[in-house]
Subunit: 256 residues, 2 copies
DNA sequence: CAGTGGTCTAGACCACCTC
DNA sequence: AGGTGGTCTAGACCACTGA
């Protein structure tokens, strides 16, 4: 495929021919911006250059940059703020706390939440975790467990698996000291930003530690939410099993 | 708010002032198109006029129409097909069968499905149903039950409540004769098109008819999916409780 | 006030479909 | 060949923000 783009070096107005792998200009721009994000050049919370600026750098019209940014804003990678600029999306923003937590109260508003870390240990990936995280068996991993309280009651028990090499110094102390959300911590401390996730939901019987921690009888029904979360480049970087107590709460989903 | 638009009558190029309820032109266009859809002027599956045509009728530029249509395509109200035209989205399209059914097989592809209607009766809305459907208690409703098979096994047991006045002649025979999906039937036969839905998920114990029909022991865990579906104008027109057997299958959700 | 994103226009050309 | 949606441009002006 022909390209008139080289990062930050204006190029002549050549354009696409009828090539089999045709990709419109704005998509090439989008990819360039994506690379800047993935490389950490522009960090979460930062403002990226103005549309006019980007148009100049890339040697395209502002409308083309605009379309690229539009798509990325739609995908929650960027956030536009009129009059101020365009910013790299961040989990630090309390507004985006519920982007990956589809939990709601059956009645009324969801009370404030607390995350209680229970344990954090290191080990080697078994077959299942290795497959989910795209690792080899035996690769180092981190496993952690935690409890989510809403109001006075525990509602979610999470078991979380992470690639060990990306989260070198993650420990129970680190988790306890942090007052941010988990993804916010991952982002600021480890430079790992979650941008997408796949969830599989099952109804299961409560057993073992999940039943204990959620303070329910064995064999009570629990909602099991298995999640694989991805960072830039569709790279899986978290596998999680969450047990949700759906008595006063539920998993909320909007279908369009 | 000023408007230069009157349906299908070109107007002078007046534009917005700094009014408190400012709405951009393309949004006004969008609303006009929406009205055509809601009124049944343009029916599911139909082609709507070309962008150039619409631009002429509305007295705006093609780019403005384009932006309106873009948004509606994003919301699955319209479907664009390059070289052919823009069409009103329809549930008749087998491709959109899974738009409102987030069910997937744990392994492999989902086998073909069959819908088995079990019963269909008329009655009066109780408090809960009335509230969900925006009716008054005692208003006529239709209740139906059905079973969804995937391959040889029943996987979903649905209990569905509809406003009686919108589905006058809906009966068990009607359901048995139809080989389409439910929403497809609603659309073609009753002119009721679902465009959006809210779902609440719970893990519950199997009991009564749901346990029988899904062929599981009482107290087995089942995934309960409560859905309110809306048609144009955010009018609720269906309330549904679906019991999902999540052994070989799961509820799949993608978070962005 | 200057700088940012947001809207709107008019026109050119490309890619895809159908006749 | 003619129609449709898809891309790209250049330029004008509006709305919002903050110094």
């Amino acid at each position: 495929m022909k390209s008139r783009l080289s990062s930050f070096h204006p190029a002549p107005p050549v354009n696409f021919s009828s090539s089999p792998t045709f990709s419109p200009l704005y998509r090439q721009i989008k990819n360039l911006i994506m690379e800047q994000l993935a490389s950490g050049e522009w960090r979460p919370g930062d403002a990226i250059p103005s549309e006019a600026d980007l148009a100049l750098r890339f040697g395209v019209s502002q409308g083309t940059v605009r379309k690229a940014v539009d798509e990325m804003a739609m995908e929650n990678l960027l956030v536009r703020r009129q009059g101020k600029g365009t910013f790299v999306a961040t989990h630090d923003d309390p507004h985006s706390f519920f982007r990956f937590l589809r939990l709601a109260a059956n009645e009324g508003k969801l009370p404030v939440s607390r995350s209680i870390p229970l344990e954090c240990s290191r080990g080697c990936a078994g077959a299942e975790v290795a497959q989910m995280l795209g690792l080899k068996q035996g690769d180092p991993i981190v496993m952690m467990r935690r409890l989510l309280y809403f109001g006075d009651a525990p509602v979610v028990f999470d078991e979380i698996y992470l690639p060990g090499d990306l989260f070198q110094d993650l420990s129970l102390e680190t988790l306890k000291e942090s007052d941010k959300s988990l993804y916010s911590l991952f982002e600021t401390r480890y430079g790992v930003r979650m941008i997408r996730a796949d969830e599989r939901l099952f109804a299961v019987r409560a057993e073992g530690i999940a039943a204990q921690q959620l303070n329910v009888e064995e064999d009570s029904p629990l909602l099991l939410v298995e999640r694989v979360a991805f960072t830039y480049g569709d790279k899986p970087v978290e596998w999680r099993r969450g047990f949700y107590l759906t008595r006063e709460h539920h998993y909320h989903n909007e279908l369009n």
